[in-house]
C-alpha cells in the first residue's frame, strides 16, 4: 500500500514538473525555415550544396562572413578580430583571432567543457582538406595556392609536421603565405569549407563528425535527417551585437521588414531553428500557407497566377500581402546548358574540318535555344537571359555585350546547319541529360521541340536520365555526357569563380565539366585570377567571357528569380546564396 502511495506521489511529482516545464518551452522563439534539398553531411570537408553551407556556417565559425544586408556583398570579421594585414606583394596574410571564443561543450573535450578557439585550430582545419583520405570537397579552393600545403598533403607526414604557408604565430595569430596572389582568398575564408573544427572532435568522432559537429558558432546541431534539421541556440556563444548600420541596413529597402528594431540585440535572436527539407513545391506551399508550420517559403511557378496581383510591378494579392512579407531576388549564379568538348560528335575533333562543323552545330543549337520560352514556362516569366557566364552585378558583366547568343534565331540556326552540311541524316544523336523528375521532363520536352524547329529530327534528340543528383553529377565529372544542364551558384562575388569553370587544367573530373581547353582563354584566366580588382582585370574578364560566347561552348545564362515570402511575425531578409550564417539574424515575434 505504501509502495503504491509512493508511486502515485512520484507520478504526481513528475506530471507537475513536466507541466511546469511546458510554459518555458512555449516561450522559446522558434524559426521554421525551409529548403528544397537536404544536406547529407555537415562536415566542412564535405559540403555539397548551399543547404549544407547554411548549417555548417550556423554551427561552426569562419574567420570572415558577409554583411547581412549589404549589396554588393561585403566581408566583415567573424571569428577574426579585424580585417587581415596583407603584405604589399599580396602574398602574406596575417589574421588576428578573437580571444575568449569557446567551442561548445562536448565529450570530445577534457571534462566535456569546450575549450578556447585558437590559431592552431584554423591551421588544423585547413590542413584537414589536404589529407588525401579525407576526400575533401573544398580542397580545390586552396589547391596550388598556399605555400607548401599541397606537398604536405602528398607527403602526409601528419598534422605535427609544419607547413610553410600556414603558421600559428602565437595563440591568436595566423599567417598564411600564398604561392601567387589570390585576391579571392578572403572570400574563401567566409565559406563553410573554411569552418574551424576542433581537433579533439575530429579525432573522437572520425567520419561521424559529419552528423556530430562541434563548433563555436551561434547554433548547435540537435538533430539532422533527410527531412529536417534542428539547431538550438549556443548558450555560450560569444557576445555579438547586431549592428544594422554595419550590416548595410537601408530604411527604404529594409524598412518594412522590422529589422530596425533588432539593432543592438545579442545574436542569435531565436532559441531554435528548424529547417525542413521539402522537395515537392506543392507540399512546401501548403506547409507555408498553413500558418503554423514553416514561416518562410517561396511561390511555386504553378501558383504564381493565384498569388500575384501583377507581375509588372510584382505585387501580391491582398490576401497574401496581408499575411506575408515579400522579396523578389535573383539567384547569385546562373543556369546553363553545356557541351562536352571531349565528345567528338559535338566538341573537339582531330579533323579541323569536322571541328568547324561541330562548332557550327553547337552554335546552331544555341540559336535554337528559346530562352524566353524557358523563362516564361519555368521561371515565372520574370527576369532576362544575359549573354555569357558572368551574371549581372558581378565585376566583368558587360551590359553592352551583344545579346545575339541568348536570342532565338531559328532561321539563323537552319542556315548555319545547311552551310556546314548538317542534315537529318548527318546530325548526331543529341543527348539531353538530367535527374529524372517531372520538371526535368518538362525541360526536355521544351528542348526537343525547339530542336525540332531548327530541323533536328525528334528521334535524334534523346533523353538520358539519372535517378539521383549524385549519379548525374558523377556522370558529368566522368565526362560521360554529351550535354548537361546545371546551375552554378557563385561561391564568392567574383567572376573568377565562374571563369575557372572553363580553365583548361580544371578539366574533368575537376570543375571544368565542359573540358573546354583554349590557350588564349587559359592565359587570360591565369593573368586575371592573380590580379586585384582593377579596370584591366575587368577587361580581361570581359574578354574571357567573349571567347566562351564565340566558341559556343555553353548556352548561358539566366539567373533564376525567386519570389521569397515570409510570415509577418518574422523579421528577416531572405537570401540563400553566398551569404551563409544568416539564421542568427532572424527574429520571430510570438503570435
Amino acid at each position: 500500500m505504501v509502495l503504491i502511495l509512493k508511486l502515485l506521489i512520484g507520478l504526481c511529482w513528475i506530471s507537475v514538473t513536466a507541466s511546469a516545464a511546458l510554459p518555458a518551452q512555449k516561450d522559446e522563439l522558434v524559426y521554421r525555415h525551409v529548403e528544397d534539398g537536404a544536406p547529407s553531411s555537415v562536415d566542412p570537408l564535405h559540403i555539397q550544396n548551399t543547404y549544407a553551407n547554411s548549417l555548417v556556417t550556423a554551427i561552426y565559425d569562419t574567420l570572415y562572413e558577409y554583411k547581412y544586408l549589404k549589396q554588393p556583398f561585403e566581408l566583415k570579421p567573424n571569428l577574426a578580430a579585424s580585417m587581415p594585414k596583407v603584405s604589399e606583394d599580396g602574398l602574406v596574410y596575417t589574421f588576428k583571432l578573437k580571444s575568449g571564443v569557446k567551442f561548445t561543450d562536448d565529450p570530445a573535450f577534457k571534462d566535456g567543457k569546450g575549450r578556447e578557439v585558437v590559431a592552431e585550430d584554423f591551421v588544423y582545419s585547413l590542413k584537414r582538406h589536404f589529407i588525401k583520405s579525407n576526400r575533401s570537397n573544398g580542397k580545390w579552393l586552396w589547391q596550388g595556392r598556399i605555400k607548401g600545403l599541397d606537398k604536405w598533403g602528398q607527403e602526409s607526414g601528419g598534422y605535427q609536421k609544419e607547413v610553410d604557408g600556414i603558421k600559428a604565430l602565437d595563440r591568436f595569430t595566423v599567417q598564411v603565405t600564398l604561392v601567387k596572389p589570390f585576391p579571392q582568398f578572403l572570400y574563401t575564408l567566409a565559406l563553410g569549407y573554411a569552418a574551424i573544427v576542433p581537433r579533439e572532435a575530429d579525432e573522437k568522432y572520425g567520419k561521424q563528425i559529419s552528423v556530430h559537429p562541434v563548433g563555436s558558432g551561434p547554433f548547435v546541431l540537435e538533430s539532422l535527417s533527410s527531412t529536417k534539421a534542428v539547431l538550438v541556440k549556443n548558450s555560450a556563444y560569444r557576445k555579438e551585437i547586431f549592428d544594422i548600420e554595419l550590416h548595410g541596413y537601408e530604411e527604404a529597402k529594409h524598412g518594412s521588414t522590422g529589422i530596425a528594431k533588432l539593432s543592438g540585440k545579442q545574436l542569435p535572436l531565436v532559441d531554435q531553428v528548424e529547417v525542413s527539407y521539402i522537395k515537392q513545391p506543392s507540399s512546401l506551399w501548403n506547409s507555408f500557407t498553413k500558418g503554423n508550420e514553416i514561416q518562410y517559403g517561396w511561390v511555386p511557378t504553378v501558383q504564381l497566377d493565384q498569388v500575384l496581383a501583377s507581375r509588372q510591378p510584382l505585387k501580391l494579392k491582398k490576401d497574401f500581402s496581408d499575411r506575408f512579407h515579400m522579396r523578389v531576388a535573383s539567384d547569385f549564379g546562373y543556369v546553363y546548358l553545356e557541351f562536352n568538348m571531349n565528345d567528338s560528335s559535338i566538341g573537339y575533333h582531330k579533323d579541323p574540318e569536322q571541328n568547324k562543323r561541330n562548332h557550327a552545330l553547337r552554335c546552331a543549337i544555341r540559336k535554337g535555344f528559346d530562352w524566353q520560352n524557358r523563362i516564361d514556362r519555368m521561371y515565372h516569366g520574370i527576369g532576362e537571359a544575359f549573354p555569357g557566364i558572368i551574371p549581372p552585378g558581378v565585376d566583368g558583366f558587360d551590359p553592352s555585350l551583344s545579346r545575339e547568343s541568348v536570342e532565338l534565331d531559328v532561321n539563323g540556326a537552319k542556315q548555319l546547319l545547311k552551310k556546314h552540311n548538317w542534315n537529318a541524316k548527318t546530325l548526331p544523336n543529341l543527348y539531353y541529360s538530367g535527374v529524372n523528375s517531372v520538371d526535368f521532363r518538362k525541360f526536355f520536352v521544351q528542348f526537343r521541340s525547339w530542336m525540332s524547329r531548327i530541323g533536328y529530327p525528334k528521334e535524334k534528340v534523346k533523353l538520358k536520365t539519372f535517378a539521383t543528383f549524385g549519379d548525374y553529377s558523377k556522370a558529368i565529372k566522368d565526362g560521360r555526357l554529351m550535354t548537361h544542364s546545371m546551375g552554378w551558384g557563385l561561391d564568392y562575388p567574383d567572376a573568377e569563380n565562374v571563369l575557372q569553370l572553363y580553365y583548361g587544367p580544371n578539366k574533368s573530373p575537376g570543375s571544368n565539366s565542359s573540358n573546354f581547353n583554349n590557350s588564349e582563354y587559359n592565359e587570360i584566366y591565369r593573368q586575371a585570377s592573380a590580379m586585384q580588382p582593377s579596370v584591366k582585370r575587368t577587361e580581361l574578364y570581359k574578354k574571357a567571357n567573349k571567347i566562351l560566347i564565340d566558341e559556343c561552348v555553353v548556352i548561358a545564362g539566366f539567373s533564376r528569380t525567386r519570389v521569397h515570402l515570409w510570415h509577418k511575425n518574422v523579421s528577416m531578409y531572405p537570401t540563400r546564396e553566398v551569404l551563409g550564417n544568416y539564421f542568427k539574424y532572424v527574429n520571430v515575434k510570438p503570435l
Binding site: 504553378v302 520560352n373 539519372f466 549519379d471
Partner: protein, 303 residues
C-alpha cells in the same frame, strides 16, 4: 476443344453416345449473357482501337508538341481538355498514353505469364520434389516483400536502363500465376489422360506442353486480365515516382505533372489521366470477373 491430347479418345467415345458441348462453347454462351462482361469487353475493345490508332499514327500525333505558346490553356475546340504547363494538348496526351498502357500491360502480362506458367507447370508436375521446393521457396521469398516496394526498389536499382520498369514488374508478377498454375497442374496430373500418356511412355516435357498446358488456357486468360490491370496500375505509380516511363507519356506521368497543379486549381491533367485510367482499369477488372464466371467449369455445368 476441352481437354485435349489423349483425352480426345475418351471424348470421342463419349460423343458417339451423347453430344457434348465443349467448355469453351458453354463459357462463351455464359459470357454472352453477362451484360457487364459484354460492356467491359466493348470498352476494352474501344481502348484497344485507340491504342492501335495511336500506333498507326492515325491520331494524337502532336502529343508532345508545344502547341499553345501561352502554356496553360482552357478547354476549347482546338484543345478538348485544354493545354498543360508547356502548352501541350492534354487530350492528345491522354489518348497517346493509352498506347503506353497497352504496351506495358501486354509486355508485362505476357512475359510474367510465360514465366509463371512455365515455372508453375514444372513445380506442379514435379510436386514434392526439390524442384518444386525451390520454386515455392523462390516465389515465397518474392511474395514476402511488399509488391510496390519491391518494384520501386528494382526500378531504382536498374535506374539507367530503359527496361527497368518492365524487369521489376515481370520479376514479381509471375509469382501469382505460378501459384495458381502449380495448384491446377497438381490436380490435372492425377487425371486419367495424363496417366494414359505416361503409360504409353510420353516424355514428361511433352506431357506438360501438349497435354497439361492446353488445359490451363481458361486459367491463363483470367490471369492475363488480372496481371494486365496490375501492370497498368503499377506503371502509373512508378511513373508518378519518376521510376517508370522516362521518355514518353503515360497516365502516371500526367498524374505526376498534375501533383503540383491541383494545388493551384488546375485539374485538367489530373482529371484526364484519372478518367482514362479509371475506364480501362475498371473495364479490365469487370472483364476479368466475367471471364472467371464464364470459364469456371462448376458454374458452367450448373447451367
Amino acid at each position: 476443344m476441352g481437354k485435349q491430347g489423349d483425352t480426345r479418345n475418351t471424348a470421342q467415345t463419349l460423343s458417339r453416345t451423347t453430344p457434348i458441348e465443349s467448355l469453351w462453347s458453354l463459357s462463351l454462351k455464359k459470357f454472352c449473357t453477362d451484360k457487364i462482361g459484354i460492356a467491359s469487353l466493348f470498352v476494352v475493345l474501344v481502348y484497344s482501337l485507340i491504342a492501335l490508332g495511336v500506333s498507326l499514327g492515325l491520331w494524337a500525333n502532336e502529343w508532345d508538341e508545344l502547341l499553345n505558346e501561352q502554356g496553360y490553356g482552357p478547354i476549347s475546340w482546338d484543345y478538348w481538355l485544354g493545354t498543360n504547363f508547356n502548352g501541350q494538348d492534354i487530350f492528345q496526351r491522354a489518348v497517346y498514353s493509352t498506347l503506353t498502357a497497352f504496351k506495358v500491360g501486354l509486355v508485362v502480362s505476357l512475359c510474367s505469364l510465360w514465366l509463371g506458367v512455365c515455372l508453375g507447370s514444372v513445380a506442379g508436375f514435379y510436386s514434392n520434389t526439390w524442384l518444386d521446393e525451390l520454386i515455392i521457396w523462390l516465389y515465397g521469398c518474392l511474395d514476402s516483400i511488399p509488391f510496390y516496394l519491391f518494384v520501386a526498389a528494382v526500378s531504382f536499382a536498374l535506374k539507367e536502363s530503359d527496361i527497368a520498369m518492365y524487369v521489376s514488374m515481370i520479376g514479381v508478377l509471375w509469382t501469382s500465376s505460378c501459384k495458381v498454375v502449380r495448384g491446377q497442374v497438381i490436380k490435372l496430373k492425377s487425371l486419367e489422360f495424363v496417366e494414359a500418356a505416361r503409360a504409353i511412355g510420353v516424355k514428361d516435357h511433352k506431357i506438360i506442353v501438349r497435354h497439361i498446358m492446353p488445359n490451363l488456357a481458361p486459367l491463363i486468360l483470367i490471369e492475363f486480365s488480372l496481371s494486365f490491370v496490375t501492370a497498368i496500375k503499377t506503371e502509373a505509380i512508378l511513373s508518378f515516382l519518376g521510376l517508370g516511363v522516362r521518355d514518353g507519356i503515360s497516365w502516371g506521368v500526367m498524374l505526376s505533372e498534375a501533383s503540383a497543379e491541383v494545388v493551384a486549381g488546375r485539374y485538367h491533367n489530373f482529371i484526364a489521366a484519372s478518367v482514362f485510367m479509371f475506364g480501362l482499369v475498371m473495364a479490365f477488372n469487370q472483364l476479368s470477373d466475367a471471364l472467371q464466371d464464364a470459364l469456371d467449369p462448376k458454374k458452367v455445368v450448373q447451367r
